[in-house]
Symmetry: C2
Subunit: 184 residues, 2 copies
Amino acid sequence: MSRWQPDARERLEQAAIELFVEQGFAETTVPQITARAGLTTRTFFRHYADKREVLFAGEEIPEMAARMMAEAPEGTEPMTQILEGLRTVAATRFDPRKDEIRVRRDIVRSDPGLVERDLRKRAALSEVIRSAFVARGIWPLRAALLAETAMTLLYVSFDEWLDSDRDLFDVIEKTLAELRETIA
Amino acid sequence: MSRWQPDARERLEQAAIELFVEQGFAETTVPQITARAGLTTRTFFRHYADKREVLFAGEEIPEMAARMMAEAPEGTEPMTQILEGLRTVAATRFDPRKDEIRVRRDIVRSDPGLVERDLRKRAALSEVIRSAFVARGIWPLRAALLAETAMTLLYVSFDEWLDSDRDLFDVIEKTLAELRETIA
């Protein structure tokens, strides 16, 4: 076995997810994960800070959101910007990985610490969007509402998407129509 | 000093908040709090599980929300129900305690663990509202949107309220008008 493992990260992730599903998140240890992946714990910790990070690392959605927000042409309507952002993230990060994300959701739901980590992730993404709108000159209250609306659309649509065979952005568009009607 | 301290809880809370402000949340210990309050650590732990709980206990807002949701007359429009709920909570739990809540906000912001606890509180309240609407026969997607909208209105208005001399529900009504315009 060569020291350089180009696929180490993927092997660790696959082994971890398998074990989380088979025996539970709390019951799974890093040595069990590395044993199944045929790698050392040293390699594990080169890629992940702890076993929780296997479920949250590598998504880079806040970075992607920050980039998209900064690159949108000046004068783009804020809601258009949000919808175009959600469309891109849905098509590139969510739809192609639906089965995997479904498994991940069930693991996260099973553990209060993971649910908490997920809430922090949501708050961090909201903050990225809010501050990017402020940087574009949007009034703070409206920037906060735009960010919260983006998170509501994404999170409320998420379960419906996972439990259906539709594309995420289709669900998001329907959710927005429903939101408009709800608060009208 | 009599063994029965009718005001022990208030004295502990006041001592804790003073110390959190003076020397920081992380640096404050339970023995310091009880020394300042002139009470024993045993008394402290009869009232609070840990020092963090001093900032979060006694609010009972989820219980209040659940009760109000269950008691609303049948056929009440869901958005009316949310606004009436927010009006009551704002007038009874927020406006009379504004100075105290402002101090509390600054303490919470200073500590990532407290921010996390606050996010969990928000998620728990959203879940109470969502499931109460489902119990009243509202379609799940709409119930989730109603709950998220209630939380958005409350949380986005919160800072603006604390930084102004207006009543919370006035700010909430303005935030709703702004939200309608934002997603129109």
